[in-house]
């Protein structure tokens, strides 16, 4: 970086900045409005979750996974539960599996709603943000009904889910699913196809498929580059192979494939698909146990596993080593946002200040997951 050159100005963007989505610090080298380099500094939210895991028992760590990607806590719970289950080698009842998919997909919608909303707020339109929040409240209500919490659910547990869905959940979910498509249409009219919005995002920060591979970009950001890779299809877990859904990929509708607009639009398309999945799952729901019978004190056999799942932000992986005791020997978390953020140094070169905000927003990073 040309940091010491007197022609350039260095600005610290963050850790307190309205649109770095938390406590990310970017050291920005600029020549007026045009950036010549960006260097992310992370760790302001480091809590040592991986180390904490080593002194807690397996079930005790579940609530901590809520605090990884707090906007998609269900998905994090799910990935962790699947990791331990693989180590334990237990069979999950079918009802529990369907419930897990319902919750994970609902949470995917709610996470994408926040992503959509905060992105629009970054772009200067504040109203879509509140519209996104409004629909998310509906999902939060559903979760509160089910597990009592609105953000950190701790619902998907090792062996199944913590409790069965309450009465009225299915009706209320159907109500939401009926009401939601009209809202997506509204979002599109209000924001997605707005000329200013398109102008701000089309052809900005294009991620080529090769770059996406090199930097380990996953999730909607990878699919926006035109690569049809979704773990729900590529390595189906739970009951995803029985479900009928599309994987949207970036087509470069407004510019080049893999530009910011494509990345943004992936999330809108995925919300539609997730709603579709939830609807199918509700039809498939049958009576049964909501959790497998597992002992209270978990002592998995010694060994190591790596399990990954498709989170709203990409692949969340847990690498777990067990030494046969009640506590993990080592837990490594592969956070999708961390890899997604790493590409920012490449993208934000020669772009303008306002584009940097668009890049951060379109990558949809979340800091607790990066810093862990």
């Amino acid at each position: 970086m040309a940091g010491t050159d007197e022609k350039f100005m260095q600005i610290s963007m963050g850790p307190q900045h309205p649109s770095t989505h938390g406590v990310l610090r970017l050291l920005v080298t600029t020549d007026g409005e045009v950036l010549s380099g960006v260097k992310p500094y992370i760790g302001y939210l480091h809590r040592g979750l991986e180390k904490i895991a080593e002194r807690l028992t397996y079930p005790q760590f579940t609530p901590f996974t809520d605090r990884l990607d707090y906007l998609a806590a269900m998905n994090c719970n799910l990935a962790y539960a699947m990791t331990v289950e693989k180590l334990l080698n237990v069979e999950i009842p079918r009802r529990a599996q369907i419930l897990r998919v319902i919750m994970a997909e609902l949470n995917r919608i709610s996470s994408h709603l926040i992503s959509f909303g905060s992105f629009s707020a970054d772009m200067g339109a504040f109203t879509p943000f509140l519209f996104g929040i409004r629909e998310r409240e509906f999902i939060n209500d559903l979760f509160e009904m089910t597990c009592g919490a609105r953000l950190t659910y701790n619902y998907i547990r090792i062996g199944g889910v913590s409790q069965d869905i309450p009465e009225g959940f299915i009706d209320k979910t159907r109500e939401f699913l009926d009401y939601f498509p009209a809202k997506i249409k509204e979002y599109n009219e209000l924001l997605s196809f707005n000329a200013i919005f398109i102008k701000r995002l089309a052809n900005i920060a294009v991620i080529s498929p090769e770059d996406a591979f090199d930097y380990g970009v996953t999730g909607p950001n990878l699919r926006a580059s035109g690569i049809k890779w979704d773990l729900r299809r590529a390595e189906p877990y739970l009951i995803y192979n029985e479900l009928d859904f599309d994987i949207p990929v970036g087509k470069g509708e407004m510019g080049k494939v893999g530009d910011s607009w494509d990345r943004y639009m992936m999330r809108i398309y995925e919300m539609e698909q997730s709603a579709n999945i939830v609807r199918q799952c509700l039809d498939m729901l049958e009576a049964g146990d909501y959790t497998a019978k597992i002992s209270k004190v978990l002592k998995p056999p010694a060994g190591e596993v790596y399990v990954r799942a498709e989170n709203p932000r990409g692949e969340l992986g847990f690498y777990l080593i067990s030494d046969g005791s009640a506590k993990p020997y080592r837990l490594k978390i592969r956070a999708p946002s961390f890899a997604n953020l790493s590409i920012i140094t490449k993208l934000a070169r020669g772009v303008m200040m306002a584009d940097l905000i668009a890049i951060i927003g379109s990558l949809d990073i979340i800091l607790p997951e990066i810093d862990r």
Partner: protein, 372 residues
């Protein structure tokens, strides 16, 4: 105020020179204070209205704690800002930093002076009215840069540079589009322009309906005016998500309030120019006002004038809460590639119209045809 000043100063012609100076000064001070009070009251109401409009649009309630419907919220806000600690950054250029908000506010307030609120209610009937207003509102750009530079903050500097570039650029389409209307009444005096628009049921002789070119000029002016007062989608100088708060990042308490009030004052001023020039000023539509008693007519005229202004301000708020923000270069592109050429050709068209038809508007022509 009213045309009192003229009457009284005229009556003073046989008083001594000393008396004349004293009385004139007193009258000017009193009328100045009245206008200041009106301006401050308007600014308070406007901030309340902005928040309420935002609330309505975003499916929220908006302020509703202080007073009925939260109407007195602006007083609470004002008291809060007054009581806040006044921070002057240690490394700030103190004189620039302290002076900037006052200059901004003074410039914005000074533009209230030549406005003609009704037939007889005005402070000063300047013969260079429009010219004066354009000139005085340009002072804002200098003061903003002073504050931005004086803050000794890189974000402020960014905001200041953007503000100056934007305000200076957008002055050109503003003046060009105003000229297209000004050549018809051929006067710069606010009152003369409004009087010219009388007749035609108080609506059809508005300059906006005079010919197709003035209609277009109105829209060009309005878009450019939104940019001139730094509101979304052109609010890049204070783009919250990009450069924190732009030029007023370091300002606190009452100094910040001055910037804030100046912004709302500017909104009023640009709307007032639009109303005066294009929308018939205080002409009361559809009512034969001449037969009314003078006081009632004056009250109605003031009410009509303010209603028209508030409608335009509502439109600004509505736009603000709908659209995302443009990028710096796109903002300039809009100005130089779209608004300026359009305004320029529009001016030529309007001139040709005036030359060929001797300044007759569409209504005059139709009315002339009907009579014959």
């Amino acid at each position: 105020m009213i045309s009192l000043i003229e009457h009284m100063t005229a009556g003073l012609s046989n008083a001594g020179p000393f008396m004349r100076i004293v009385v004139t000064t007193i009258i000017m001070l009193v009328s100045g204070v009245i206008v200041l009070a009106v301006a401050l009251l308007y600014e308070g109401v406007a901030t309340y209205a902005e928040r309420k409009v935002a609330g309505d649009i975003q499916a929220r309630i908006g302020p509703n704690r202080v007073g009925p419907y939260g109407f007195l919220q602006f007083i609470a806000d004002g008291v809060k800002l007054l009581l806040k600690e006044d921070i002057i950054p240690f490394y700030a250029d103190k004189w620039l930093f302290i002076a900037a908000p006052y200059i901004v506010f003074t410039a914005s307030f000074a533009a209230f002076v030549p406005l003609s609120y009704s037939d007889h209610v005005y402070v000063a009937n300047l013969n260079v009215g429009i010219l004066y207003m354009i000139a005085i509102s340009s002072v804002v750009s200098m003061a903003v840069l002073m504050g931005a530079w004086g803050s000794n903050n890189k974000w402020s500097l960014f905001g200041g540079m953007r503000a100056v570039a934007q305000i200076v650029s957008y002055e050109i389409p503003i003046i060009l589009s105003l000229l297209a209307a000004l050549i018809i009444p051929a006067s710069l005096t606010m009152k003369d322009i409004i009087v010219y628009q009388s007749g035609g049921f108080g609506i059809f002789r508005w300059l906006i309906f005079n010919n197709p070119f003035t209609l277009l000029a109105f829209f060009v002016y309005y878009i450019a005016a939104i940019a001139e007062v730094n509101r979304t989608p052109f609010d890049i100088p204070e783009a919250e998500s990009e450069i924190v708060a732009g030029y007023h990042t370091e300002y606190t308490g009452m100094r910040f309030a001055f910037f804030f009030m100046a912004e709302y004052g500017d909104m009023f001023v640009v709307s007032a120019i639009a109303v005066t020039l294009f929308l018939g000023g205080w002409q009361i539509p559809f009512i034969g006002a001449l037969s009314m008693p003078l006081w009632l007519r004056e009250v109605l005229e003031v009410a009509v004038f303010f209603t028209k202004i508030f409608l335009l301000i509502y439109l600004m708020m509505w736009i603000r809460w709908t659209l995302p923000r443009l990028r710096v270069d796109q903002l300039m592109e809009l100005c130089w590639k779209y608004l300026t050429p359009i305004a320029f050709f529009n001016l030529i068209g309007a001139s040709v119209w005036v030359l060929l038809l001797n300044g007759k508007g569409v209504y005059d022509i139709i009315a002339g045809l009907l009579i014959h």
